[in-house]
């Protein structure tokens, strides 16, 4: 496995700027500042890097949507609102490699013509507020941020902005609303952030992991990155594994690696002699896979889609045969009900209703009609909302109820 992001994450005390520079840090930025911004965008396109927050949109293409010469400033926003259940990979990068992120942001800002950038970090990461501020201070002191980055004719300010505890603010337009000081309600698209984002100006929102991959791509070249992974899923991906595995944690995986190999080898396999029952491969918003469905599935965007799920954020939750699926779904549904921003009707009412029906079912007070009701609620919500949070509730509801129906019905007296 290639170590692009986690090459130095295991060793203690590696997150200072001195240590970072010792191992070659900020050399990629230096190289980038000698390139044309358009060349950097081309390089990122050629690398095949896709958004690592969950959507998997080609990063270079996203950057190329930003119009130049609008007369308005361009903004780069780092989405550090990591809130997808099961996902804790960005946290590791923020803790152990803050300068990797800062260098990646500086490269991206230079390519986009951006001079003011924000890191939007989820409020629950308050213990990381000071460390990130410190890393930024270090970067300013070393002349890597400020009016003249690395003494070149390029100015860049990066500020840290803390969120206040809302999953919805990981949605890019919601993030922008929150950053502007409003309630974190997603915006109607079009217009898209590329043309009308932060302060109605061209804006790019990128995930922490996406930005952290840039220094390696610039240093080693797009071809080297594209050589890793599969035809359409290039490079490496961080997977945060939790649940019934012997070695939960964050792993960096070449895209295209077999899912079951990853669970049994890297993650150590199922403990206590139990058997695998189900996997949620990419965060609670993706459909669950039964153990049988995992045969032959590779950890890349296409293979998981074909198997009926998604790569998503890479927040993998492994469930053994001791688990009662309705309980798991109830916990997941409670999450979406709690996090729905409430702006649009189907999500606001549907997530709440589904959560209540499931709680009833798990408490043994439900009926078989309630099981069908869950599917009906899912159908009513899907595809009709301003943002995909409702769809993110639909995926687990539909996949759990369809694939483990007998467990749900067993809870019902009538």
């Amino acid at each position: 496995m290639t170590k692009i992001l986690l090459a130095n994450a295991d060793k203690p005390g590696q997150n200072t700027i001195a240590k970072y520079r010792e191992r070659g840090g900020y050399k990629a930025l230096e190289k980038a500042l000698g390139m044309e911004p358009s060349a950097i965008i081309d390089e990122v396109k050629a690398s095949g890097l896709r958004g690592r927050g969950g959507a998997g949109f080609p990063t270079g293409m996203k950057w190329s949507f930003v119009p130049r010469n609008t007369g308005k400033p361009t903004y780069l926003l780092c989405n550090a609102d990591e809130s997808e259940p099961g996902t804790f990979k960005d946290r590791l990068l923020l803790e152990r490699e803050p300068h990797l992120l800062i260098e990646g942001m500086a490269i991206a800002a230079y390519a986009l013509g951006c001079h003011l950038s924000y890191i939007y970090m989820r409020g629950e990461f308050e213990f990381l507020e000071r460390p990130i501020e410190t890393a930024l201070e270090e970067a300013y002191k070393a002349g890597l941020l400020g009016p003249s980055v690395l003494k070149r004719d390029f100015s860049l300010d990066i500020h840290l902005h803390m969120g206040a505890g809302a999953y919805i603010c990981g949605e890019e337009t919601s993030l922008i609303e929150s950053l502007e000081g409003y309630r974190g309600y997603p915006r109607i698209k079009p217009p898209f952030p590329a043309t009308h984002g932060f302060l109605a100006s061209p804006t790019v929102v990128n995930n922490v992991e996406t930005l952290a991959a840039l220094p390696w791509i610039i240093s080693n070249g797009a071809q080297a990155y594209a050589a890793i992974g599969t035809e359409k899923s290039k490079g490496t991906k961080l997977f945060s594994v939790s649940g019934h595995v012997k070695k939960p944690g964050v792993y960096e995986v070449d895209l295209g690696y077999p899912l079951l190999d990853f669970i049994n080898n890297e993650a150590g396999g199922i403990p206590n002699g139990r058997k695998l029952k189900a996997v949620i491969p990419g965060g609670s918003s993706v459909p669950v896979l039964r153990a049988e469905e995992c045969e032959g599935v590779l950890l890349d965007y296409e293979s998981l889609l074909k198997a009926g799920s998604m790569l998503g954020s890479g927040g993998m939750i492994v469930l053994d045969d001791s688990v009662k699926m309705p309980e798991v779904l109830s916990v997941i549904a409670d999450f979406y009900a709690h996090e729905s921003c409430g702006q649009c009707t189907p999500c606001r009412e549907g997530t709440g209703w589904a959560g209540k029906v499931l709680r009833n079912l798990v408490a043994g007070k439900g009926t078989k009609a309630d099981v069908d009701r869950l599917l009906k609620i899912a159908d009513m919500m899907e595809g009709k909302t301003i943002c995909p949070l409702a769809d993110a509730d639909v995926m687990p509801i539909r996949s759990f109820v369809t694939k483990f129906r007998s467990e749900f019905e067993a809870l019902c007296a009538i």
Binding site: R183, A337, H338, E339, S340, G342, T345, G352, K384
Partner: protein, 537 residues
Amino acid sequence: MPKFTLNDQVIEAEDGQTIIQAAQDAGIDIPHYCYHPDLPIDGNCRMCLVEVEKMPKLTPSCTAIATEGMVVRSDSERVKEAVRGVLEFLLINHPVDCPVCDQAGECRLQDYYMVYGLHTSEIPLGMKVRKRKVIDLGPMVVLDQERCVLCSRCIRFFDYVTETGEMQFFGRGDHVAIGTFEDKPLDNPYSGNVVDICPVGALTSRDFRFKCRVWFLHSTDSVCAGCSTGCNVRVDHRDGTVFRLLPRRNTAVNESWLCDEGRLSFHELQTGERVVRPMIKGRDGIHAPVTWKDAVRSIDSRLKEVRDTNGSSSILGFGSPSATNESLFLLKRYLGGQLGASQFEFRADSEDKNVLEEEDQILRHFDKHPNSMGAIKLGLTSAELGGIEGAIKAARAGSIKAGVVIYLDPLVRRPGDDEAEGRILELIDSLEYSVLLAAHKAEWHASASVVLPVAAWLEEDGTYTNFQGRVQLAGKAIEAGGDALPAWEVFAMLLHASGAQSPWMSARDVFATMAESDTVYRGLTIEQTRLPGVVLR
């Protein structure tokens, strides 16, 4: 001007119009809650979803701009399912308040349920989300958070129209509740509008609360008589009592809004005693009631006496900026045409200066009369007299002996009203012979030689000319009571008594005559005075 099809019907849209706007203009209503033609678009209710060819997901028709060749369907099964779904979602946590909710009968949840819903509720009452009810938001508005469908119209109204930002959502998910910060009462002159735009009974009118079920009300189109803006209104009344005013949408005058004072101005109308009979002051100085026939004959012969003795310049016609154009026109025709009077005024305050002066940036003008512009355009200003002060002086000096005065109480009060009323009394006191046409009774009427009962606003059809010079038809909603008649009819009787032609049977007829005569109304038809009204050249 892109052409697109909606349910196989070709519609031509304006450039930049959304599908729902173009459809509304073409008379097709796509169901919606959060969309409002005079508020910024929000797209949150998801009720207006339509199928647009080539788009994989259903599209909200309030955000999608109509483009050339677009094929849209709002009548497919897929759309009907989606709309039914949104409606069901809105109803799951909605309290079953219909029996006690003012909105019943004009509630979009009820209306759309009958068309798109008709489903059985699948959520037990105990599972519904509970929120606060009967929250006092000040003199105009009562809030019930449970009934709210979170369409955000009220938020957008206060953010973008009044720019005062009093209302906002609090909380998240299905616990989001609408309200003001710490329940602070709404303290702005337009707060009543949020009751109109709230599609459900979350925001209701304190003034109208529990007074009448809406299906018992009759509606009449009229124009507010509170100031020179002339906002278009709908008067809801029953059995001779007005219950409320609602705005009628006129994009050229008031869009969808009314100010609170204007909205409540009908109360002023229904307060206090009315002048009920024509009255003539006898030799003993006391008013005695007479018939209209006797009153009219007496007035005409007395005014002719004054004219014959002192000349026609000794007769003054003092109109009211609250009287209709028809009344002022016939006032002039009688006094001017029959008696040769040439002195006409209407200014008891500074109405002519204030008619254009805005009191705020939204709707209100300082001039609290609906027809100052009408009085000006009909020539009721005298450069020589310069207003009531000049008239009083002339009367005191003896150059004006007699006067016919129309005085109608303003419906929106301001400091200074008493002074203006006092000046009218001064004028009457200074005249040897005075005929006062009034609606509401006052002590000082005792000074007038003759008092005639006339109809007030909403008691007669008539036109007003607003600050823009826009002539608008104000409809009659209720009867005047007693022997009161519209002022124009009084002058018609006087004209008849004096031997002139008097063929008019309605205010419409008078308007038609105005439109034939040498006035600013030449060439207009009464139909033109309906929405949106017609602006004088």
